[in-house]
């Protein structure tokens, strides 16, 4: 019976190709709009390190004047998302967390051994040693450096996989030398493929939608080499003055990212108390004029606070579904018109012995076929739409990047994975059924004799 209904559905759709195409098109456009929204949202709403929700915490302190010279317009209710050097350094003395990291992003020029390759710029993370352990960075070769090499910095470097491939052809380069800004560093580790999405540990730049750095060196090099941060530097007190790289280490300006890893919830609470005590104590010395507003937050809270999955993404998602609903409503009208136009045939089938449920089921099969066809076309429109968006939004960004990881990152925004594809199939089925449920019910409950004379 199901095959019979399926044949009837296909025949019925072919009987009125224009109307059928309109219905399939309406559902396809609705599916494409919602799937593009879902794909973009899904890519942005991913959780980069869910297994450390109760262990990994970003730390921020509200160092601002009552009227800071630089406003933090988006969320003035939160403390700035980075720390001053003196606060980071003070917090770093705490032995409550299992691990702590202070760090910033900078850039250097790498001079390859190979004389055929010109020196080129690389992105550098200047960080304390725990970075690799805390953020579960996987290593292809070697490892990070010990804490002892942070302050009196060791001439050691960790390379990204891409950088190791570029300068060492992907071989195990541990022990080899790399020249950065004219200084030689010994390779101690090579990172395997690693791309946290978003780059939650540093939200500078494109709201965290950046690739990890290409080289990593100990924190002490930052001051020694007077390296400037490639990210926001916000001075939070009127008295702060920036005149040269040393000011970063003396002035009330925030520029360092700071994270801790604790063993359990109790340790996190103890650490929060430690941070609050620290700012209370600092207030006695004229700092922290505001009430305590210190945050020790896990990754999901951190990403939500700073709108990494912004209100616009959520709005876009809602609009996608609203658009789909409008398309479904239009399809209901078209289906009703189509089914009523064919009502005499349904009346005839009833006269020949079809039950109401036979007629309703036959029409439901037809709307499922419409839904699936709409879903298939919608999927094609989605892929086309995502491809178009990628070109429109990122062609310039890709043209100026030598690092293939950036292409991987950008492609990940526009990639429909299996769950999203399954969602598309489910959604198109649902859309078809929603659009056809009432018309199918209505046609199944018409009196059989009504249309027999007009057939």
């Amino acid at each position: 019976m199901l095959i019979h209904d399926l044949r009837l559905a296909v025949r019925s759709l072919r009987r009125n190709p224009v109307l059928s195409a309109l219905m399939i098109g309406a559902i396809a456009v609705g599916i494409a709009a919602s799937m593009i929204s879902i794909t973009l949202y899904h890519a942005r709403a991913g959780h980069p390190i869910p297994w450390k929700d109760d262990k990994l915490f970003a730390v921020t302190l509200d160092t601002r004047d009552d009227e800071p010279p630089q406003s933090f317009e988006r969320h003035p209710e939160y403390p700035p998302f980075q720390l001053t050097y003196q606060d980071a350094r003070a917090l770093y003395t705490s032995d409550i967390p299992q691990h702590s990291v202070m760090m910033f992003r900078s850039g250097q020029v790498l001079t390859p051994d190979n004389h055929g390759v010109k020196p080129f710029g690389v992105s550098t993370r200047v960080t304390t040693a725990d970075f690799f352990t805390m953020f579960d960075v996987p290593f292809l070769y070697g490892s990070g450096w010990p804490r002892a090499q942070d302050d009196a910095p060791g001439a050691v470097v960790v390379l990204s996989r891409y950088m190791n491939e570029k300068i060492f052809g992907g071989a195990n380069s541990v022990g080899r030398l790399v020249v950065l800004d004219g200084r030689s560093y010994r390779v101690v580790g090579v990172i395997a493929s690693w791309m946290p999405r978003p780059k939650y540990y540093d939200l500078n730049g494109w709201e965290g939608w950046e690739i990890p750095e290409e080289v990593f060196i100990p924190f002490g090099w930052g001051r020694t080499l007077k390296m400037s941060p490639h990210g926001n530097t916000n001075c939070v007190r009127r008295s702060a003055k920036m005149d040269g790289p040393d000011s970063l280490y003396t002035q009330e300006c925030v520029w360092l990212q700071y994270w801790v890893e604790v063993r359990n919830r109790a340790e996190r609470d103890r650490y929060q108390a430690f941070v609050d005590n620290y700012t209370n104590e600092q207030r006695l010395h004229g700092r922290f004029p505001r009430k305590n507003n210190n945050r020790v937050v896990n990754v999901p809270t951190w990403l939500a606070m700073w709108d990494v999955v912004g209100e616009d993404s959520r709005m876009q998602l809602v609009l996608g579904f609203v658009f789909l609903a409008v398309c479904v409503l239009n399809t209901i009208g078209l289906m009703l018109a189509k089914f009523l136009a064919a009502a005499p045939i349904s009346g005839l089938r009833r006269a020949l012995g079809a039950r109401r449920s036979d007629i309703t089921r036959q029409h439901l099969i037809e709307v499922i076929v419409v839904g699936l066809a709409g879903g298939a076309v919608g999927m094609a429109l989605t892929l086309g739409g995502l491809g178009g968006l990628k070109v429109l939004m990122f062609s310039g960004r890709l043209a100026h990047s030598h690092n293939p990881d950036r292409l991987v990152l950008i492609q990940s925004f526009f990639h429909m994975d299996i769950p999203v594809m399954l969602a598309a199939v489910g959604l198109s089925l649902l859309a078809g059924i929603l659009a056809g449920l009432y018309p199918a019910y209505r046609i199944g409950h018409l009196a059989p004799a009504t249309f027999l004379k007009t057939q």
Partner: protein
């Protein structure tokens, strides 16, 4: 076969009530061929729809093939229509995008009949109406007379107890009408009860009995010939 007692059917709108059938009482014997005549709006088609369980009656009692069908559920009525009644309409009422074979096969699907049995019945029915060579044609490729023969094949392929024909020759010329009437007489001769609405007095006189309906009531009855006794009672299995 058909036993109606004081049947009434009223169509209601917000402003008007139309009494389509008024206390109509009628018995039709098994194997009888009855012609129903009357002016337009007299209630002929409503009578046929009520007899074919396409319309519910408002009052009265209706016994069909020994079963009281006055107050059945919609599904029960569909089942009886499918298994015991064949319909023939003035406008043929074939499904335009199905070929002859599939048009005839349509009612058998609702009986959940296996494919091989459906095929046997469809080919036998088409053979009987002389259209075995036209199975792949769609209705638009056939003449009016051929289309009506397809409709007759569809009506008889389920082996019904009763055929209800609503002006089956109304859209046909004289020659075609004669062919169709001849076919109906043959089907009746084989034991199937037929009720036929017609405006053609000549055709109406070639059956066992003619009923003339006026204002939803039987006004006159003319007996032309008696029903010949049938050799055996048909069963659904036949």
């Amino acid at each position: 076969m058909i036993d109606m007692h004081n049947i009434s059917k009223v169509f209601r709108t917000d402003v008007v009530q139309t009494h389509a059938l008024r206390d109509l009482t009628l018995k039709v014997e098994r194997g009888e061929f009855v012609a129903i005549t009357g002016h337009s709006g007299s209630g002929k088609t409503t009578f046929l729809n009520v007899a074919g369980l396409l319309e519910e009656l408002d009052s009265g009692r209706y016994t069909f093939d020994g079963q009281d069908v006055s107050r059945l559920t919609d599904n029960q009525r569909s089942g009886i229509r499918n298994e015991k009644i064949g319909f023939i309409f003035q406008g043929f009422n074939l499904i335009p995008d199905l070929n002859v074979y599939h048009n005839v096969e349509a009612p058998l699907h609702y009986r959940r009949m296996p494919g091989a049995e459906r095929h046997r019945r469809v080919t036998a029915a088409l053979d009987r109406v002389g259209l075995a060579t036209r199975m792949k044609h769609i209705p638009a490729q056939l003449s009016g007379g051929q289309q009506q023969r397809v409709a007759i094949a569809r009506a008889i392929c389920g082996d019904p107890r009763v055929i209800l024909a609503d002006e089956p020759t109304g859209n046909l010329d004289t020659t075609m009408s004669e062919q169709i009437m001849q076919l109906l007489l043959e089907i009746n001769a084989a034991g199937t009860t037929i009720l036929m609405v017609t405006h053609n007095p000549e055709l109406a006189q070639r059956v066992h009995r003619q009923l003339h309906i006026v204002d939803g009531q039987i006004d006159q009855i003319h007996h032309f010939k008696s029903v010949q006794p049938l050799p055996a009672v048909k069963t659904a299995a036949n």
